[in-house]
């Protein structure tokens, strides 16, 4: 069951991410990114993070991507033109990215047995709910960071309003 879920939604996420990379029009990229986020929500759920799966759908796929799509439509962004800019990105960037990927997957696959296996469902069988544990940590030991995020969101909203005003 878990391997089936992982295969289907993992492949879907990779395919949508590649589609995002290859599409020329920003709106197509944005919609592909929504598919990536939905598949990641299913993977979170399969790893026993139900709260994060819901937050992923609501915050990322619901709020952030809608904001992106609104901005793409507001600015009437067309297709990208082919670049004749610097070639440094392709000379240094792609081998670098491939090297990071090779290194990471080599390490992960080498220590595969140490990392163990993932089982469908909650963190531990018979444990109290995942949401309860997150809430307990957030409202006791991590209360200060949690409150600071509210100030961060407030400042971000004010900053967005100020930046997007007509007369800058």
């Amino acid at each position: 069951m878990q391997i089936v879920l992982f295969t289907i939604f993992g492949l879907l996420a990779v395919a949508a991410a590649l589609n995002m990379l290859l599409q020329r029009h920003p709106i197509n990229s944005a919609l592909s990114l929504v598919v990536v986020m939905m598949s990641l929500a299913v993977l979170y759920w399969s790893l026993g993070a139900e709260f994060l799966a819901a937050a992923q759908v609501i915050v990322y796929a619901g709020a952030i991507m809608v904001l992106f799509i609104f901005v793409v439509m507001l600015l009437n962004a067309g297709e990208e033109t082919r670049t004749h800019g610097s070639k440094i990105a392709s000379i240094a960037g792609f081998p670098g990215g491939a090297a990071i990927f090779c290194l990471l997957s080599f390490v992960f696959l080498k220590y595969r047995s140490v990392l163990g296996t993932a089982q469908l469902g909650g963190l531990q069988a018979g444990a109290e709910s995942n949401l309860l544990r997150i809430a307990h940590s957030l409202f006791t030991t991590l209360l200060l960071p949690f409150e600071v995020t509210s100030i961060l969101i407030l400042v971000a909203i004010l900053g967005a309003v100020v930046l997007a005003r007509k007369e800058l």
């Binding site: 878990q2 991410a17 992960f108 993932a118």
Partner: protein, 100 residues
């Protein structure tokens, strides 16, 4: 029963697609989207490790990453709108105010 390593490798694949997208796309909005893709890949890694250790700390990190990503998206898109108003373009090759 999926090895945790597979989830981590999936995260690495998505992260590297994000890097490639960041490097080859020429639209500011798409570059911004690839940053979100990279954040999501890292979130998957956090959740996989949280599952592996049976702890919720990784999930709380993901929560904070989501909050910061939401704030960043709001400010970043406002900057993109302001930039578009001044330069009338979204192409990063033509945004060279700081070059001289």
């Amino acid at each position: 029963m999926v090895p945790t390593a597979y989830y981590l490798v999936l995260g690495a694949v998505l992260f590297c697609i994000g890097i490639a997208s960041f490097l080859i796309r020429r639209s500011v909005i798409t570059i911004f989207m690839s940053i979100e893709l990279m954040l999501n890949a890292v979130n998957l890694t956090f959740v996989a490790f949280a599952h592996m250790w049976g702890q919720v700390s990784g999930q709380i990190f993901v929560f904070f990453v989501m909050v910061v990503a939401a704030a960043e998206a709001a400010v970043g898109l406002a900057i993109i709108i302001a930039l578009f108003r001044v330069r009338q373009t979204l192409n990063v090759d033509q945004v060279n105010l700081l070059k001289n």
